[in-house]
């Protein structure tokens, strides 16, 4: 993926880049790995558009191996990263030489209907490329016609994807994204390796392998009775996950993107979500700090713990408050969106008049695991003050049901929902 605001070139490039990712989101990883090389945004972002036979630019070649496909292994010698070597980077740069961006967007990929770059035959290094022992000293024959240069690229990508390590690298990423950031040898052998084989058997189609992972007993902690190795609730939610869950769960009302496009895109999404909430919570939208992506998905040892840190928690905590108050409590301004806690409870919580059941039923909707009585009592205090009987709440709730005046219950439910959403339990998935 490119970084939207850090050197991807024209806005149209990023638009095309998104369409390409969207096109192959449920498709074939290997095909995407070929197509992305000709993506105008990527050509610009990692400088491959300037990579020529006489003046190689290794930027794209390096990241292609290190971050996008086979990934770097342990360094086992000077310039030798197990899965590939510095020599392979230089050879890959030669394979990629001559691919250029096309600002006019006049070359259209017939497979995707998305604008793409082109190859400048004169700038392509037509010498043979011999790779290291990591790739069995394979030589890819250098070519000098447009069709053959594309075949050369094909052969190179096929070579990378013929390595089992490439399949494993993708499966580890999937596991880290959907299940848990780190794992033991048993998971490596039983799950990662198995999934990698499925990925290879399906010629790098992504759907079968994701389907198997997400429908496995392991994913639902149903594979054994040992609670200490449960994986549900072991990932800290990204700011995007947090936002989308809150919006879905509480049916947040925001401007309709079709009929009220300006208010939606400018006031709600751009001004509040994109410019304030995401940066404050540590996730520049489509624009991670590094070409490696968001640290939650690559930075050892913490991985997803990078989402939750002293410099991101104010942004996280202020989200629910902003949505409930209908204004940006991070930096001010109307957000044109509203979370209605009273309507949410009325429509979704069957036993809302009993404060204990109200709390546990919301907790069951929000949290990975049920909460104990101590915790229920803590949250209940937002509805009924310490020392007062539960029926005080039942009374105000039934008065609201009868006369529709939500003033009293709203103040309390707002406080409860803010506390329950900002609680440690809701940060996890």
């Amino acid at each position: 993926m490119v970084g939207k605001d850090t050197g991807v070139g024209a806005a149209t490039y990023f638009y095309d880049h998104l369409n390409l990712l969207d096109f192959y989101a449920f498709g074939n990883l290997k095909t995407l790995a070929k197509k992305i090389t000709l993506d105008n945004g990527m050509l610009d972002y990692l400088d491959n558009t300037q990579n020529n036979k006489n003046n190689p630019n290794e930027n794209y070649a390096r990241e292609y191996l290190e971050l996008f496909t086979i990934l770097k292994g342990e360094q086992i010698g000077p310039g030798n990263y197990t899965n590939y070597t510095e020599v392979d980077i230089q050879q890959a740069a030669k394979v990629f030489s001559g691919f250029k961006k096309r600002p006019e967007r006049s070359d259209i990929d017939p497979d995707t209907n998305i604008p793409m770059g082109y190859v400048n035959v004169n700038q392509h290094d037509s010498k043979d490329k011999t790779f290291s022992k990591a790739f069995g000293n394979r030589t890819i024959e250098g070519k000098n016609t447009e069709t053959e240069i594309f075949e050369e690229l094909d052969a190179f990508v096929e070579m990378i994807f013929a390595q089992e390590e490439t399949a494993k690298a993708y499966c580890r990423k999937l596991y880290r994204y959907f299940v848990k950031s780190d794992w033991n040898n048993e998971v490596e052998t039983d799950i990662i390796t198995t999934l990698a084989q499925i990925l290879i058997n399906n010629n790098y189609e992504i759907l079968p392998v994701v389907t198997i992972l997400l429908s496995s007993e392991h994913f639902y902690d149903a594979d054994d009775s040992d609670a200490t190795d449960n994986i549900i609730g072991s990932i800290i939610k990204s700011p995007l996950q947090l936002l989308s869950e809150i919006c879905t769960m509480f049916m947040v009302k925001y401007p309709n993107p079709t009929t009220d496009a300006l208010l939606y895109y400018r006031n709600f999404f751009l001004n509040f979500i994109h410019n304030r909430y995401f940066p404050a919570a540590g996730m520049e939208f489509f624009n991670p700090d590094e070409v490696a992506g968001y640290p939650a998905y690559y930075q050892t040892p913490g991985y997803d713990r990078n989402w939750f840190s002293s410099n991101t928690i104010i942004g996280r905590y202020k989200l629910i408050e902003s949505l409930i108050e209908g204004k940006n409590t991070i930096s001010g301004g109307n957000i044109y969106a509203q979370l209605d806690t009273v309507t949410f409870v009325k429509n979704n919580i069957p036993n809302a008049s009993d404060p204990n059941l109200l709390v546990t039923e919301i907790a069951n909707l929000l949290y990975p695991e049920t909460i104990d009585t101590d915790r229920t009592d803590y949250f209940k205090r937002f509805l009924v003050d310490e020392g007062f009987p539960d029926y005080y709440w039942s009374g105000v709730w039934s008065r609201y049901i009868n006369d529709g005046d939500a003033t009293t219950v709203r103040v309390r439910l707002n406080a409860l929902i803010i506390a329950m959403v900002n609680a440690a339990e809701f940060q996890l998935m």
């Binding site: 190689p56 290794e58 000077p78 230089q90 072991s234 410099n311 990975p368 609680a423 440690a424």
Partner: protein, 542 residues
């Protein structure tokens, strides 16, 4: 001590804190050295040049200018005209003759004050040319040959955990990080959690008032599972952020800047650091960051020009460094601050044809500050190493990055050999970095390895007028003094520096007996005042 344990203990207390200043005062009596400069307030400021700085266009090897020109026909810094390099120091021998990039006028003025040492060809054995991997190696204290110094912890974290053990329980972070959303791997420690605080993008003045209490009360029953471990992490991060935020806001609001800074991201970061130091924040290590050094293209704006992306970055760096040091000096704090720049690697000696450079190996390091002995360490790299057979790399490492750090950790901050070895060890040549320290990195009056004798006596025992025993204690603890006084005032603070109780105690037979049955297990600070003197004792309940 496991910091996370203290978090649990201290979450219930009321909110009158012992200021970092008071605690620092208490810590001075723990000084392990005699006849030495006061090192208790010394700090390191690390500037990360992210993306890999092009060393060859930062400091130009004038003795090999022709080879340099041939390797870099379009991006070389010119040797004539308005963009000509700046001659660093004509008194240096030929093989140390350096031309500074013309962006570095402010760096030249630091050098002329004898506040700057340039370290040549810094790197480590078997350079890894991945930004991410090499950054991780730099921060974990490893090299390309082995990861034996640990991969899950950072060297700064290990160092702080071992050397500042007594300060781990304070209510301020041992390290402060600004400039990156990602909390650096460098600060991860073995046992203690949250030694550092990342305040990137935050308003330090209002940090505490905004953050305070947002996360609510944490759950008390934590299951034994991954979910439980994550709950604990979140709860601890929240509690520590609250605790630390208060000390940050207090220091920021009582500190000041004495001079004006350029308006750039890096300058603003250093301005905040200066203000926190000025506000007497106890933190020992600061890390700031300037990124954009990954100049694969257009590092100069046109062939033969010096102006461009790299020039802007270097200008920003030099101006920010100088403003920071002048601010510190103007506030008479310059004795206590040493700064250092580091970058994950350098860039290839040959340009790449896009007015840029690809990933390389060695790069220079700048060590700066009033305590620093001005000068140049090492000679210009040998450019004849860069040939087509090695992909035009200059590879000979003159200084391992850990040599600079170990010299500063020991000779400036005062860490002993054991701590240096546990922070990082040179597994490649199987030698301690204590034996590989760099001569003349510090002016002798600031260097505690010169003319300064480490005391083997326990100064704590000699200088205290009160004895608190038994320590550790279970429920009952006694305070006995050598002076005959009627009463004493006792204040007890918890590990976060929060005041738990304060009262006047009457001595019976020279002794005060306390029953602290109701206190949780953990570390407490007893502040004992009588007849105008005050002492602080660290006491542990088990």
């Amino acid at each position: 001590m496991k910091r996370r344990h203290f978090i649990k203990l201290s979450s219930v207390a009321s909110a009158i804190a012992l200021t970092p200043f008071e605690l620092q005062g208490a810590m001075k009596s723990f000084m392990p050295y005699a006849n030495c400069p006061d090192i208790s307030n010394r700090k390191l400021v690390l500037i990360n040049l992210a993306g890999a700085n092009d060393g060859l266009n930062t400091i130009i090897p004038l003795n090999q200018y022709d080879i340099y020109s041939n390797l870099r026909p379009t991006i070389k810094v010119p040797n004539s005209g308005p963009d000509k390099y700046i001659s660093l120091d004509s008194s240096l021998p030929d093989n140390q003759q350096i031309g500074l990039n013309p962006a570095l006028t402010r760096l030249k003025s630091l050098y002329d004050k004898s506040w700057l040492r340039i370290m040549q060809s810094v790197g480590y054995p078997s350079q890894n040319k991945s930004h991410f991997k090499s950054t991780d190696l730099y921060l974990t204290g490893n090299d390309g040959n082995s990861l034996l110094n640990g991969t899950d912890t950072g060297w700064i974290g290990r160092f702080m955990e071992l050397y500042y053990t007594d300060l781990i329980v304070e209510n301020y972070p041992l390290a402060v990080e600004i400039g990156s959303n990602k909390t650096s791997l460098g600060f991860h420690a073995e046992e203690a959690h949250g030694l550092s605080l990342n305040i990137s993008g935050q308003d330090p003045a209002g940090f505490y008032s905004v953050l305070s209490g947002l996360g609510g009360v944490p759950p008390s029953n934590i299951p034994d599972s991954d979910y439980g471990k994550q709950l604990e992490f979140i709860t601890n991060t929240d509690a520590l952020s609250n605790t630390y935020a208060e000390s940050i806001s207090n220091a920021f609001n009582s500190g000041k800047n004495d001079i004006s800074y350029p308006d750039s991201d890096l300058a603003n970061q250093l301005k905040t650091v200066a203000r926190l130091i000025s506000g007497d924040l106890g933190s020992k290590i600061y890390m700031v960051r300037i990124s954009g050094f990954d100049t694969h293209n257009a590092q100069v704006q046109g062939p033969g020009e010096a102006i461009g992306k790299h020039h802007s970055l270097l200008t920003d760096l030099a101006e920010s460094m100088e403003a920071f040091m002048n601010d510190m000096n103007s506030q008479k704090l310059a004795d206590d601050v040493v700064g250092l720049t580091f970058s994950e690697f350098g860039r290839k000696a040959a340009e790449n044809g896009n007015l840029g450079t690809d990933h390389g190996e060695i790069a220079p390091m700048f060590v700066f500050g009033k305590p620093v002995e001005g000068g140049v360490s090492g000679t210009n790299p040998d450019l004849t190493e860069a040939t087509s057979s090695n992909n035009f790399q200059i590879q000979t490492v003159q200084y391992d990055y850990r040599q600079t750090f170990s010299t500063l950790l020991q000779n400036y901050l005062g860490a002993n050999n054991t701590i240096i070895d546990a922070t990082f060890f040179n597994h490649t040549i199987n030698d301690s970095f204590v034996n590989l320290k760099i001569d003349d990195l510090l002016k002798s009056e600031f260097d505690i390895s010169k003319g300064c004798i480490a005391s083997t006596k326990n100064l704590l025992a000699e200088t205290k007028n009160w004895l608190v025993y038994p320590n550790p204690f279970r429920d009952h603890v006694n305070i006995t003094g050598i002076n005959r006084t009627e009463t004493l005032t006792l204040s007890i603070y918890n590990a976060s520096g929060i005041l738990l109780l304060t009262k006047i105690e009457t001595l019976v037979d020279g002794n005060v007996a306390l029953n602290l049955y109701s206190f949780s297990n953990g570390v407490y600070f007893f502040e004992i005042s009588s007849e105008g003197t005050k002492e602080i004792h660290k006491v542990v309940k088990i």
